[in-house]
Amino acid sequence: MKIGLEVHVALPTRTKLFCACSTEETEEPNENVCPTCMGFPGSKPVLNREAVRIAKSIAFVLGCKIREKISFVRKVYFYPDLPKNFQISQLDASIGYDGEVSIKTKKIRIRRVQIEEDPAKILREKGMTLLDFNRSGVPLVEIVTEPDITSEQELRMFMHELRSILYYQGVDIDREVKADLNISLGKERVEVKNVTGIKNLIDAARYEIDRQKRIIDQGREPIKETRFYDEDEKITKSAREKEADEEYGYIYETDLTDYDTSGLVIDRGIIPSKEAKELSEKYGFDEQVLDELISLDRDAYRLIVSAAGRYDPQIIVSVVEQLKKFGEQSISEAAFEALLGVGKEVSLTREMIDKAKKGESIETSVNKENIEEKVRKYMQDNKALFEKARKDTKVQNFIIGEISRKYRFNPKQVSEIIKNMNLFK
């Protein structure tokens, strides 16, 4: 079985790919439109630098080679949502090529990362075709894989991995993503076009794999064709023959030129699964747990990196998980540390988190006992020091400091507890 994907991802720019119209979603249709994104005669495209920069960053994190000189092509086909009846896209001079994405079982090769314009949104209502060009011209990257995926499971893993990598580039593709699937169990390739959302993509693949399997089991061959996925019926359906006969007739887009991309500064981003692996190897986290925690959570990643190596990995994970349960997305690193000091056995409460955020000391019974125990132990080991401390506040402070540092307690708390224990009297 061979599965290849063409995944379309909308880029988070302020303006469209070839005109200065806003990409913001509006209630009103055809609000952010101009002659260029409606394809009016006389209009011309002007390339958005930020779109190219983000596309370059994405190509980079997908392990692609980056082209210094890019250009665009016209891909001609007729459809009402396509303003010019050709789409400005990329082919041989695309921003990225020859990349790879690692999943557990293997590497999925990326053939190409290309920049292109989104068509308009098309709706059918009361027997009418309604077009909204707000969507038209939004910058996309199309990520084209080699047919390296060989099971539904691998498709799932790949989509998870891709989603997580793109998430760190500022794009969440969960529901937004539009993809074309190429699936062949037999000799011929079947293309399932225009599936929206990761869940539908996997459902469509599963259906199509079953369908082709059944045909082969009956001793026949699946034919080469284009199919569509019907979200309601959850099945793929054959497209009419006419549409499969389109000849794109690619030519260079001469309203644009060659563009030098070498000066565009990329967001390095991270590959979260790789990051999880490295942190686990270095500090003893559970890789699986860590991967799940950070793959779609930039904030979790930030907190973990801030504390890794200084606290018990299990405590770090436990506190982060609990913070997430409380919906915390931007807690400061200082407050996070205060909570780490509480220890892993403790269930955090809303009150504790709020205190930590305000910089107030957090007291819990478990925490208090814990500190008392550590203080007693320290006294046991340093009897002479405690003798001196009775007369000397400097030594008292030294002891408080030592205990706090050693066990990563809050010094203010330690001082209060020692005072209550009457140890310096």
Binding site: G42, R74, G249, D255, T257
Partner: protein, 451 residues
Amino acid sequence: MEEEGYIADFNGIEKPGDYFHRLRDEIQNYNEKFHAFNFIPEKLEEGFPFSVKDNICVKGVETTASSRILSGYLPPFDATVVRRVKEKGFSFIGKTNMDEFGFGSFGINTDISARNPFDEDRVAGGSSSGAAVATALIKYHIAIAESTGGSISNPASFCGVVGFTPTYGAVSRYGLIDYANSLDKIGLMARSVKDIEFVFDIMKGKDEHDSTSVDRKIENKKSRKITVIDEMISGVDEDIRKSFDSLLGKLEAQGYKISHTSLKEIGISGPVYYIISMAEASTNLAKFSGFKYGLKVEDFSLDYNTFFTNARDAFGEEAKRRIILGTFVRAASVRARYYQKALSLRALLIRKMREILKDSYILSPTMPIKAPKIKDVEKLTPVQNYMLDILTIPPNLCGFPHISFPYDYIDGLPIGAQVITDHFNDKALFSFVEDWENNFTYKFKYNLGEI
């Protein structure tokens, strides 16, 4: 830049209060005979008159490129050239007739053909037929025209006016209804090169709305050398050949050094040009599908393929031919053989011509024939028709600036010569033609708007 030529005269003369009103009526009257304009506004503003070829957008003014498929299109913006010229106080007097989308050499691929002011039975040339006719009719006027493969030089030559095609990229194409994006150039026609130079200075320069417009200095590197390419005079009509030889004699007498050379590759420029231009045109014309602007197919219940096909019935025959051929040369199975090969050959032709242009002008007759009779050109096959563009294609294909200027009258018909220079040396052409105009007086049969 100082005003000279007709613009200077016009601005220096006191005009009667109803001048623009009368001018409009006069133009309207003559248009019934010559069909230079597709559209004339109800009222003219004050200012030096300018016309706009009908494939260039003027905000709120029907712009059709002489195609039925665009009937009713009201551009919501001005082309950059139009905006720049309007801002300098020029007065818009109408949209000029042309071959549909620029597809033609005689101005006959339109509903009503423009007529040659020197002989109404003859063609005006094309595709900027109306621009040339308007220039030959109206005394104080400049025409914004456009050339892809010779659409300025050709009608300028047939109608006895000066036609300037700038270096590709020197003038913004924003607002131009594309024929072939890598070949289209907006240029000018006038009765004197001085007016052209003045308006070119207003129009030229980088425009943020056109990614292929450039910010290069336009040079005036004059040369005293003229090269004649043998292949460019071998096929021209006998009377034109003779007349051109005498032009060379005159120029030699004025101190130019004339040399002849052979450039056999130039013979390939016709097919190379038509392959590239049709490939690009067939994609540009894909957008016309009958519902967002221009001609409307009212029946929205039709399946989109039928709907589009119905709309596209409105294309003229030459447009259909070019769409089919352009789609053919782009097809995956033959793209390398036609489209890509043609692009390589263009690179070769640019290189070969530049070798000549680095220290001399290239001069040739503009057209191999005098303005033909309308009834005669209707009999030509497309290939015979294309072959007549053989002299205007090389500079157009390669983006070299060139000017066609009148230099003789045979049997009462004007004929033009075409002077070519290197990229971005456009101003040298102005100097060259200005010298010529100092020794030669152009003839005009009409002087509408004369004061």
